[in-house]
Symmetry: C2
Subunit: 118 residues, 2 copies
DNA sequence: ATCACTATTTATAAAAA
DNA sequence: TTTTTTATAAATAGTGA
């Protein structure tokens, strides 16, 4: 906008791409903030710029809350559960190995102590 | 904007709040899309409107990818890990109980078979 | 990266359909 | 709820510090 229309394609020039990204990110943040206030809504925005830098905004102080809520409400929960299962499976395998290699099942092993630090 | 400045506070009138939300969400989507194209960035936006309705957008077809990347890269990973630990801890307790109550440690138990279905 | 300027393009509030 | 209209408010591209 301004001084000529913008073509909707990737900006090749690195410098101007970064300038545009910075300006538009600022503008976007304002829009998101306004929407969350006016509409009394919970919002989370996550952006990875081309350089891999993380930008984020959340109307909650905890962006995780919105994300978690998302994870629970979307069909993509299948992916979420699949990831979770991998973690759990790994933990179970570790625990199994520990238990199977212990002499006395009743004394507290280090693995157990560690897991209960939580 | 237009026909008078907007006060930055929650719109009490339900109808006009919804109209404003709908319009601004549309505008926001466009902005986010433009930013992702111009800046060649990966973007995810999640909004829960007051009614609890989920609105989302992602420049990836899989919004989960951006979210997962977020989870791994942010400091809030502490929260993420804490949640994960709870799941793992529960799994370990279950597995421990199963293992501790088995007669023969070398035959395949049902719990193990189940966990390896993944 | 950010800030200022500013001509233009966009977004949108209000009203009505 | 969604769309159209349209007067205005906002956002921003290009430029230079």
């Amino acid at each position: 906008m301004a001084r000529g229309k913008v073509q909707m394609r990737r900006i090749e020039n690195t410098t101007s791409q970064q300038v545009t990204f910075s300006k538009r990110w600022t503008g976007l943040l304002k829009k998101v903030y306004e929407l969350s206030v006016l509409g009394n809504a919970k919002v989370a925005v996550i952006i990875f710029s081309q350089k891999g830098r993380l930008h984020e905004f959340s109307s909650n102080s905890k962006i995780r809350k919105t994300i978690d809520r998302y994870c629970r409400s979307t069909n993509d929960a299948a992916t979420y559960q699949a990831n979770m299962e991998q973690y759990i499976l790994e933990a179970i395998r570790t625990m199994s190995w520990i238990l199977l290699n212990r002499r006395n099942p009743t004394d507290g092993g280090s693995a157990r102590a560690k897991s209960e630090q939580h």
